[in-house]
């Protein structure tokens, strides 16, 4: 146990501290000595034109992906919660995308969301043309305004099965007696859901929100696989990667990474404290 505490202390908290030191070092290339810029870099990164874009993209992506995956996952669980024949099979199918890396699924989604003009189109645009739904053809992730929303589609495909599994466990946790009691009291099916089942699913929604949210803020593999480092789909993790590898600028990379950490911490820490406390009480 104690070696593990030391390892986590060193590799997580020690390195976070070290990273913050790099961020305030003003070390913008590999040769100049480390100094201390009094945190000016936390202001200066916002002058890099692509950084505010990356942040905006991350927010759009997060909104679409988190809400989309929550709704889709909930709906799938709702369809299956009463138990039906073949449930196990449905579950396997909705969950399998989670076993695949974003890098691999990115290959096929890049094909599906190919924005080439009709004569050269592959993927969904060609399918839409074939079945007479030309109106649905679009530029997908290369769209100037809605690109990041399209980028959320593969992420939803990958993660909504997970949300489904969470909600399914939640539905099964609601006691049948409670539902029956509501029914005997004359509650309609819809009222039973609205006033008995849904309130009990709130903790599941919270867990799912936190898990999807932190995955979404950190999104990297998916973007790299589908678009690579392009401004049109720039996100903080990709911006950080480019500062480190292409610009060779550790201070900027570390600063961006710190912002990412703060965003995740704001989302996750209250939830962790809350769940450790509630567990202690029970």
């Amino acid at each position: 146990m104690s070696p593990s505490i030391v390892a986590i202390g060193l590799f997580v908290y020690g390195l976070i501290f070290w990273n913050t030191k790099v961020a305030v070092s003003g070390k913008h290339d590999q040769v100049s000595p480390s100094g201390f810029d009094k945190g000016k870099n936390f202001v200066k990164v916002w002058d890099i034109p692509t950084w505010p874009t990356a942040v905006r993209h991350a927010l759009i992506f997060t909104a679409v992906f988190v809400i989309g995956a929550l709704i889709l996952g909930f709906f799938l669980a709702f369809l299956m919660e009463k138990g039906l024949k073949g449930e196990a099979g449905f579950r396997v199918i909705f969950l399998f995308p989670m076993a695949i890396s974003f890098i691999a699924s990115g290959v096929v989604w890049r094909w599906l969301m190919n924005p080439a003009p009709p004569e050269r189109a592959v993927g969904l645009n060609q399918l839409f043309n074939k079945i007479g739904l030309e109106g649905l053809s679009n530029d997908w992730w290369q769209d100037q305004h809605w690109g990041m929303a399209a980028m959320a589609i593969p992420a939803m495909w990958q993660m909504s099965g997970y949300v489904m599994a969470l909600y399914l466990a939640g539905f099964r946790g609601v006691s049948e007696d409670l539902r029956e009691a509501a029914r005997v009291d004359g509650a309609s099916e819809w009222q039973t859901y609205r006033y008995v089942v849904l309130p009990q699913l709130r903790p599941v929604t919270l867990s799912a929100l936190i898990i999807l949210g932190h995955i979404s803020l950190k999104v990297f593999d998916l973007i790299m696989a589908i678009a690579g480092p392009q401004v049109i789909t720039y996100v903080p993790a990709v911006a950080m990667f480019q500062q480190v590898f292409e610009r060779g600028d550790p201070a900027n990379g570390a600063t961006m990474a710190t912002y990412l950490l703060v965003a995740v911490a704001v989302l996750v820490i209250p939830y962790l404290v809350w769940s450790v406390r509630t567990e202690r009480k029970s």
């Binding site: 146990m1 505490i5 986590i8 590799f11 997580v12 908290y13 390195l15 976070i16 990273n19 790099v22 799938l76 299956m80 039906l84 909705f94 399998f96 076993a99 695949i100 890396s101 974003f102 890098i103 691999a104 699924s105 990115g106 290959v107 096929v108 989604w109 890049r110 094909w111 599906l112 993927g123 060609q126 399918l127 495909w157 599994a165 466990a169 029914r183 005997v184 004359g186 099916e189 819809w190 009222q191 867990s207 932190h214 990297f220 593999d221 790299m224 696989a225 589908i226 690579g228 993790a237 990667f241 480190v244 990474a257 950490l261 995740v264 962790l272 404290v273 769940s275 450790v276 202690r280």
Partner: protein, 293 residues
């Protein structure tokens, strides 16, 4: 779903209608589920079908059709380009998962039984380690691995995966071990067994399911990792995800689609097989990620 359903079972004068409604609802549910199945499997159809097309057929004009001549060209090319990566991925994910499981088991046991002052704080700090964006440790981690001469090596990648996997593995084992009755542990202690002895003779023998969950979970996430690999790996240690990205990813526009799809499938086969064969353990790992034991 409408007002007519407001009726206690006794008042349902026409059981036929009720049954009819229920059957209608069930058919609607099946129809919607099947529609989702089609959507969810569409990428798989594209992957499989395109991967078996010949070079001539793998062009946009026949994008959605079945191959006329099934060809293994894509698969053979994919195999020869990805082979070093597949080997590296196994060399990273197998030992990595094993070490993770052993560490997680010991930690989980201690955390589940030992109530020391500040245990909650330590536990919370541990859990946060599970959520951090690894970008926030990556720059110093690169320097650290250079200093201890593990930079770019497979061992360096295993080390990173194992260390940052400690929180989730500990959590899974801890949640499993809290279900072991306290009496059993107490009895061992009364018989004079120390902590390690108790672990070996009481806890370890019943840990099978938790080991399965952690091994599968860690194997999958190490196999699918891309972030650690690009920051900490090198040409000699790149796992299959990096090779896939380099040969069929966003930069590789000149590679024909049949090779791209075969490569993506080949790179995913091990984790897909694990998922299909041992899916129920995979599920439990997922649930542990949501802090539900």
């Amino acid at each position: 779903m409408t007002a007519t359903t407001i009726s206690a079972p006794g008042k349902a004068g026409k059981p036929g209608t009720r049954g009819g409604r229920a059957r209608g609802a069930r058919i609607a549910k099946y129809a919607m589920l099947l529609a989702f199945v089609v959507i969810f499997l569409m990428p798989v159809y594209v992957l499989v079908v395109t991967s078996f097309k010949s070079l001539q057929e793998a062009d946009p004009s026949q994008a959605w059709s079945l191959p006329k001549h099934w060809s293994t060209y894509g698969w053979r090319t994919a195999w020869s380009t990805l082979r070093p990566g597949l080997e590296n991925s196994f060399k990273i994910a197998v030992p990595g998962a094993l070490i993770s499981a052993v560490l997680g088991s010991l930690n989980g046991f201690v955390l589940s039984r030992w109530r020391f002052p500040g245990a909650d704080v330590v536990f919370t700090l541990f859990l946060f380690g599970m959520f951090i964006p690894y970008q926030a440790v990556m720059i110093p981690l690169q320097s650290l691995l250079i200093n201890i001469e593990l930079s770019g090596s497979i061992r360096g990648l295993v080390l990173a995966h194992v260390v940052y996997g400690i929180p989730i593995c500990t959590l899974i084992f801890r949640n499993y071990y809290v279900t072991i009755p306290e009496d059993l542990i107490e009895a061992a202690r009364v018989d004079g067994a120390g902590m390690l002895r108790t672990y070996w003779s009481i806890v370890a023998p019943v840990s099978g399911p938790a080991f399965a969950v952690v091994l599968i979970w860690q194997f999958t996430s190490m196999w699918n990792d891309f972030l650690f690999a690009v920051f900490l790996g090198s040409q000699e240690s790149w796992p299959v995800t990096v090779l896939l990205q380099n040969t069929s990813g966003s930069g590789a526009t000149a590679v024909p689609y049949n090779v791209q799809m075969a490569s993506a499938l080949l790179a995913s086969l091990p984790t897909l097989l694990v998922y299909l064969l041992l899916g129920r353990f995979f599920m439990r790992g997922l649930m542990a990620g949501a802090l539900k034991g």
